[in-house]
C-alpha cells in the first residue's frame, strides 16, 4: 500500500491543501509547530477514524480552531497497481472508498474492513503500538494493545487465540456447572438435563413399579374375588342348610306347640261337649227334682231346728236321767278341818309362851294359818252338803220340764214335716240339698261352660280346632317332604354346621377386608398407561437432549484440547520468528554487535545476547546504553509490524526516533529504514535536515499557512554495506 496524496480541509489548523507522497522514504521536515505531528495524526486519522461517530469530542478533536465545521480528509493510495480514493468527511459524517473501476463503498464498517485488510493492522491502537513509532515510545511495546492482535495473528482465524480459548473454556465450564456433584444455584445445561432425566427416570421406574405392583394386586384381587365368591357361595349354601334346619326345628317346635294347642282345643271341645251334656243332665235332674217337689227352705230349717231341739232335749233328758241314776260323790269329812284348827290354836299358843320372840312369832303365825285352814275346810264341807241336796231337787224339776218340751217339739216337727211332704227332716234336707246341689252344680257347669267357650260359639271353637289340626297336618306334610327331610340334620350336626358357618363368615369377612385393602392399594398404585407412556416419551426426549449436550460438550472439549496443543505448537515458532527477525534488524542497527534477541512470552520483555557478558542481558539501562535500548525496541517493534500485519506492508511513521543516536548509530538506523523501505512506505518526521539526503521524497513544512513543499525526490542515499535483512546472519 502506497499513500500518494492526502488532502486535508479544516484539520487541526493545517492549511486546506494536499500533501503529495511517494514510495520509499518520505521525510517531512519542519520546525516545531510547523504541523509535522498534525500531519502524522492526519495520516493515522484518515486510515482509522470513523467520521460517522456520534462523539462530538472525537469530531471536535480534529477541528481547526475557530472553524465551525469538522474536518474532511481525502487520501489517494495505490495497492497492487490500483488507485483508491478514501474520503472521510467528519462534517457530513460520511466515508467513501472508490477504486479505479468506479466501485464505491460507503459503509464505514465495510470500508474499514478493506483498509484493515490492506494495512494488516486491525485498529489504531495496534498501529500506534507498531507502525507508528514516536520519539519517546521506542521502548514501550504496548502490550495491552498488541497482545490481542498478536493473539489474533497467532491464532490465524481472526479472533485472538487466548480470547477464543477462554470463550471455549468458559462455555465448557458453563455446561459443566453443577454436574460433578457440587450444588450450585444455577446449574449448567448438563447438570440440569441430567437432573431432569434422572427425575423422569425415577418417575418412570416408580410408575412401572406401581404398575407391576398394581398388576400383582389386580391378580391377587381377582384370585381373592374368585375365592371369596366361591366361599360366599359355599357359605350361602351352608347358611341356607342351617336356616333350613333351623326352620325345621322351628317347624317341629311349632308342630309340638300346635299339637299342644290341638290337645287343648280338643279338650276344650270335649269339655264343652261334656259340660253341655252335664248341663243337660243337670237340667233333667232339676226338672225331676222340681217335679218331685222341693221343700221350702224356711220350713225345712224350722223342721231342722225342731229336730235339733228335740235331739237336744232328748240328750238333756238322757243326761239328766243318767245324773239321776248316778250316786252322788261321797262328801268330805270335816274332821280334818277340826284337826287343822286345833293344831293351829296349839301352835299359836305355844308361840305365845316362848321367850324367843322370833321363834314365838313363827309359831304364832303358823298357828294362825293352820287354824284358818281348818276353819275354811269345815265351812266348805258344810256347804257342799247343802248344794248336793239342792242339785237333786233341781234335776228332778228339769226332768219333768224336758219331757214336756219333748212332746211339744215332737208334735211341731211332725206338723212341719207334713207341710213339706217329707218323712223326716233329713229327707227334707236331703231333698232341699239335692235341689240346691243341682242348682249349684248347674250354675257351676254353666259358668264353666261359659268360661270354656270364652265368648265364642261352639262352631267357631270347633272350627279353630279344625284349623289347628289342618296346620298340624300341613306342618307334618312339610316336614315329611323329601326336600326338607333330605336336609334334616341331627342336632349335633347342626351344631357342627353352625360352627362351620361362623368360621366361614369370619373367613369371608377377612377376605372382604383384604379385598378392600387391595382395592385401595390398586387405586393408589394403578398407573394410567397414558401417563406412563407420556413419561417414557419425556424421558426419551430428555435423554436424547442430554446425549446431544454431552456430545456437544465432548466436541468442545476436543476442540479446546486441540486448540491448546495447536497453540503450544504455534506460539513457539512465532516467537522464534519475531526473535529471528528482530535479531536481524538489531544486527544491522548495531553493526553486528548485538545479533540475538529474546522475547519473554508473557511480558514481551526483551533481552539481547551480549558477547561481552557472554549471556543474555535485559534490554534496559544501565545494562545497555540508552541508544542500544532504543535500537533493541525499534528492532522488536519492526519485527512485530511484520508479524502482526500478516505479511502486509503498512506505512511506517517515525517521529524523530533517532534523536538520541550519534552519527554512527543514526547511519545504521537509517540503513535499517532503507531496508524497510523496500517493503514499506516510510514517513520520517524530523526537525533536522540530516535526513534530507536520505529521503526518497522530501516535504518541507515551513508553517501552518502553507502545505508542505515537496522538494522533489532526491536521489536515494547510498545503501550502507549491509545486505538485506535476511542475509545478516
Amino acid at each position: 500500500m502506497i499513500l500518494r496524496r492526502l488532502h486535508l480541509r479544516r484539520f487541526l489548523g493545517l492549511p486546506d491543501a494536499a500533501f503529495e507522497f511517494a514510495a520509499g522514504v518520505n521525510v517531512i521536515v519542519g520546525p516545531n509547530e510547523a504541523g509535522k505531528s498534525t500531519l502524522r495524526t492526519a495520516i493515522r486519522t484518515v486510515l482509522y477514524e470513523n467520521p460517522a461517530t456520534t462523539s462530538s469530542d472525537l469530531r471536535d478533536r480534529f477541528r481547526t480552531w475557530g472553524v465551525t465545521d469538522p474536518p474532511e480528509l481525502s487520501l489517494e493510495f495505490t495497492l497492487d497497481g490500483r488507485t483508491f480514493h478514501l474520503t472521510k468527511n467528519f462534517a457530513s459524517r460520511r466515508v467513501t472508498l472508490t477504486d479505479g473501476l468506479g466501485r464505491m463503498w460507503e459503509q464505514h464498517k465495510v470500508v474499514q474492513e478493506r483498509i484493515v485488510e490492506v494495512l494488516g493492522l486491525g485498529n489504531d491502537k495496534v498501529f500506534d503500538a507498531t507502525a507508528h513509532i514516536a520519539q519517546t515510545e521506542l521502548e514501550r511495546i504496548h502490550l495491552s494493545s498488541i497482545s490481542k492482535e498478536l493473539g489474533r495473528i497467532i491464532g490465524g482465524g481472526g479472533e485472538d487465540v487466548a480470547t477464543a480459548m477462554r470463550r471455549l473454556d468458559a462455555h465448557l465450564r458453563s455446561l459443566e456447572r453443577g454436574s460433578k456433584g457440587t450444588t450450585v444455584k444455577e446449574p449448567g445445561l448438563l447438570a440440569a438435563l441430567e437432573r431432569k432425566a434422572s427425575g423422569l427416570r425415577e418417575d418412570v421406574d416408580l410408575l412401572r413399579r406401581n404398575s407391576a405392583e398394581a398388576e400383582r394386586a389386580r391378580a391377587e384381587l381377582a384370585e381373592l374375588a374368585a375365592a371369596r365368591t366361591a366361599l360366599a357361595a359355599e357359605l350361602t349354601a351352608k347358611q341356607a342348610l342351617l336356616e333350613n334346619n333351623r326352620e325345621i326345628l322351628r317347624d317341629e317346635e311349632r308342630l309340638a306347640s300346635l299339637k299342644r294347642e290341638e290337645a287343648l282345643w280338643e279338650k276344650k271341645v270335649r269339655d264343652i261337649e261334656d259340660l253341655g251334656k252335664r248341663l243337660s243332665s243337670l237340667d233333667h235332674e232339676l226338672e225331676t227334682a222340681t217335679a218331685a217337689g222341693v221343700p221350702d227352705d224356711g220350713r225345712t230349717r224350722t223342721a231342722r231346728a225342731l229336730s235339733e231341739r228335740l235331739q237336744a232335749r232328748e240328750q238333756d233328758l238322757a243326761a239328766l236321767r243318767r245324773d239321776l241314776e248316778t250316786p252322788p260323790p261321797p262328801r268330805r269329812s270335816p274332821l280334818a278341818g277340826w284337826i287343822a284348827s286345833a293344831l293351829g290354836v296349839a301352835l299359836a299358843t305355844s308361840g305365845a309362851l316362848l321367850r324367843d320372840a322370833a321363834a314365838a312369832w313363827v309359831l304364832i303365825i303358823m298357828g294362825i294359818i293352820a287354824a284358818g285352814a281348818g276353819i275354811a275346810f269345815i265351812s266348805r264341807s258344810a256347804r257342799a252338803g247343802q248344794l248336793a241336796a239342792l242339785r237333786a231337787q233341781e234335776r228332778e224339776r228339769r226332768r219333768q220340764t224336758l219331757e214336756g218340751e219333748l212332746t211339744q217339739v215332737r208334735a211341731q216337727l211332725d206338723t212341719v214335716l207334713g207341710d213339706i211332704g217329707c218323712a223326716s227332716v233329713a229327707d227334707a234336707e236331703q231333698r232341699l240339698q239335692r235341689y240346691r246341689d243341682l242348682v249349684r252344680d248347674r250354675q257351676q257347669v254353666a259358668e264353666f261352660l261359659t268360661r270354656r267357650r270364652e265368648g265364642s260359639e261352639d262352631e267357631a271353637i270347633a272350627e279353630q280346632w279344625k284349623t289347628v289340626r289342618r296346620d298340624i297336618f300341613g306342618l307334618q306334610e312339610r316336614l315329611r317332604a323329601p326336600e326338607v327331610a333330605s336336609k334334616r340334620m341331627t342336632p349335633l350336626q347342626v351344631q357342627g354346621l353352625e360352627r362351620e358357618v361362623r368360621e366361614m363368615e369370619q373367613l369371608l369377612a377377612q377376605a372382604q377386608r383384604r379385598e378392600m385393602k387391595l382395592a385401595v392399594d390398586l387405586e393408589r398404585l394403578a398407573t394410567d398407561a397414558e401417563q406412563l407412556a407420556a413419561r417414557d416419551e419425556q424421558l426419551a426426549e430428555a435423554e436424547e437432549a442430554l446425549a446431544m449436550v454431552r456430545r456437544h460438550h465432548e466436541v468442545c472439549k476436543e476442540a479446546l484440547a486441540g486448540l491448546t496443543e495447536a497453540r503450544r505448537l504455534a506460539e513457539v515458532p512465532l516467537r522464534e520468528v519475531v526473535e529471528k527477525r528482530a535479531g536481524g534488524y538489531l544486527a544491522v542497527a548495531t553493526e553486528g554487535r548485538y545479533a540475538q534477541l529474546a522475547v519473554e512470552q508473557e511480558t514481551l520483555k526483551l533481552s539481547v545476547w551480549s558477547k561481552e557478558a557472554d549471556g543474555w542481558v535485559e534490554a534496559a539501562e544501565p545494562q545497555l546504553s540508552r541508544g542500544t535500548v532504543d535500537l533493541v525496541y525499534l528492532a522488536a517493534r519492526l519485527a512485530l509490524v511484520t508479524l502482526l500485519s500478516g505479511g502486509k506492508h503498512p506505512p511506517l511513521l517515525f517521529d524523530d526516533p533517532f534523536i538520541t543516536f550519534d552519527e554512527r548509530r543514526r547511519s545504521s538506523a537509517l540503513a535499517l529504514l532503507r531496508e524497510l523501505a523496500r517493503d514499506h512506505q516510510v514517513f520520517l518526521f524530523t526537525c533536522g535536515r540530516q535526513y534530507d539526503a536520505f529521503a526518497d521524497h522530501l516535504i518541507e513544512l515551513t508553517d501552518r499557512t502553507s502545505a508542505g513543499t515537496p522538494t522533489g525526490t532526491p536521489a536515494p542515499a547510498p545503501v550502507p554495506a549491509v545486505g538485506p535483512l535476511w542475509e545478516q546472519r
Binding site: 495473528i153 491464532g155 482465524g157 470463550r167 471455549l168 394410567d528 416419551e537 426419551a540 476442540a559 486441540g562
Partner: protein, 372 residues
C-alpha cells in the same frame, strides 16, 4: 361380489419415545385411525372386516382402549358388518386370543376371534370360508401349518399374523413361505406384523400386509393404509390400498456440498406440514468453516412439522488444497492439522465427533458464534 376391509398393526396404546412430547398426540391419532377405518368399512359397505393382529400394543391394554375397540366393534355390528380378529405377537393374551376379547365379544357377539389353533368359519350367506389363527409365541412352525388346503365354499379367505420369508434375511422357522401361501390356494390372505402395506404374494392367491394405519416409527413410508379387497370371483381379488392415516413420513436427503445454508433451509421448509414426520439427512462434504447445527435447524423448523429430526452426516472437506490455505505457523493452521491427524487415527464411531470439534475450533478462532 364380496368386499373385505383388511387392517392390522394398529398398536393402540403404543408409547412413542422417538416423538417425545408429541407421543400422546400420535396415540390419539392411532385411536382416530381405528375410527376412520370403521367409518370406511361402513361407507364402503364391506361384508367383512379382517383385523390381522396387533390391534393393541400390549397383551394388557388399558381399559379405555378396550372400550374404544368395543365401541367400534359395536358400530360394525350395528351396521351388520362381520368382523374377525386374530391376536398378534404384541397383543395376544395368555390364552392366545387378542387381549380383552371377552369384553369385545360382549360388545359384538357376532365377532369372530381366532386363537392359537387353526379354525375355519363358514359364512353361508356369502359362500365364504374364513380360516384364521393367532400366532403362538415361541412357536417353531409357521402359523399356516395345518390350514385346510381344500375348500367347501366358493370363496376362501385367511387371516393370520406373522413374518414372511424374505430373500437374504435369516429368520426362524416360524416364517411363512411363499410356497405355503400358494399351497393354501386362498382367494386372499390377510396378514399382519409388517408395518408397511405390501404385497408378499401375487395373484391368484394374493397375500398382503395391510401395514399400520398410522405411522409407528420413523422409516415407515408405507404406513397409513387399510386395504379394500374386492372378490368378484375366486382367484380374482382386487386389492386397493386406502389411505386413512393422518401422519406422513418424509425422508429428505440434502447434500450440503451442492446446497448452501439457504438452500438447506428452503428444502426443509418446503416439506413443512403439521402432519409430517420428517427425517432430514444432511450429507456431503462441507468445508471446515461451514458448521451445520442439526439442532438449530430442528429448533427453527420443528414447529412447522409434527416431528422433525435432522441428522448431520456431513463430512468435513479437508484436503491438501484446503490445508494450504491455512498457514501452518498460525494456531489455526496447527489446530486444523492436529485435528486432521486425530480424525484419521480415530475409530469410525469417533470421527464424526472430532470433525465437529474441528469445525467448532475453527469457528471459535474465527470469532463466530457457534457455542450457542
Amino acid at each position: 361380489m364380496i368386499r373385505l376391509l383388511h387392517l392390522a398393526d394398529l398398536h393402540l396404546g403404543r408409547p412413542f419415545q422417538m416423538l417425545g412430547e408429541k407421543g400422546a398426540a400420535q396415540r390419539r391419532a392411532l385411536e382416530a385411525a381405528l375410527i376412520r377405518a370403521v367409518d370406511l368399512a361402513i361407507a364402503e359397505r364391506v361384508h367383512l372386516v379382517l383385523v390381522a393382529g396387533d390391534l393393541f400394543d400390549s397383551p394388557k391394554p388399558a381399559p379405555a382402549l378396550i372400550e374404544l375397540a368395543a365401541r367400534e366393534l359395536r358400530r360394525l355390528d350395528d351396521a351388520r358388518i362381520r368382523v374377525a380378529i386374530v391376536g398378534g405377537n404384541h397383543d395376544a393374551g395368555p390364552d392366545g386370543y387378542v387381549a380383552g376379547w371377552e369384553h369385545l365379544r360382549q360388545a359384538n357377539p357376532n365377532a369372530l376371534f381366532f386363537g392359537p389353533s387353526v379354525a375355519t368359519h363358514v359364512f353361508a350367506d356369502l359362500d365364504l370360508a374364513l380360516t384364521g389363527r393367532s400366532p403362538e409365541p415361541g412357536a417353531a412352525t409357521s402359523p399356516l401349518e395345518g390350514w385346510p388346503q381344500t375348500r367347501t365354499t366358493t370363496f376362501a379367505v385367511g387371516v393370520t399374523h406373522g413374518s414372511c420369508y424374505r430373500a437374504g434375511v435369516v429368520e426362524g422357522s416360524s416364517v411363512m413361505h411363499p410356497q405355503e401361501i400358494r399351497a393354501l390356494g386362498l382367494d386372499y390372505l390377510a396378514l399382519g406384523d409388517w408395518h408397511s402395506a405390501l404385497e408378499v404374494h401375487g395373484p391368484p392367491h394374493p397375500a398382503w400386509y395391510a401395514g399400520s394405519p398410522e405411522l409407528l416409527a420413523y422409516d415407515q413410508e408405507g404406513a397409513g393404509h387399510v386395504l379394500l379387497v374386492d372378490l368378484a370371483a375366486p382367484g380374482e381379488a382386487q386389492v386397493t390400498p386406502r389411505r386413512i392415516g393422518r401422519r406422513r413420513y418424509v425422508r429428505l436427503d440434502v447434500d450440503l456440498a451442492t446446497n448452501d445454508d439457504a438452500a438447506v433451509r428452503k428444502a426443509i421448509e418446503s416439506r413443512a406440514d403439521p402432519d409430517t414426520v420428517c427425517d432430514a439427512i444432511l450429507s456431503g462434504l462441507v468445508p471446515v468453516s461451514r458448521i451445520v447445527t442439526a439442532r438449530a435447524l430442528e429448533e427453527e423448523f420443528g414447529g412447522a412439522f409434527f416431528r422433525l429430526r435432522v441428522t448431520n452426516r456431513t463430512h468435513v472437506w479437508l484436503d491438501d488444497a484446503q490445508l494450504a490455505e491455512v498457514p501452518e505457523d498460525t494456531v489455526l493452521g496447527r489446530f486444523v492439522r492436529v485435528m486432521r491427524a486425530r480424525i484419521a487415527e480415530a475409530p469410525e464411531d469417533r470421527r464424526s465427533l472430532l470433525q465437529e470439534s474441528l469445525q467448532v475450533g475453527v469457528a471459535v478462532l474465527q470469532g463466530r458464534e457457534v457455542l450457542g
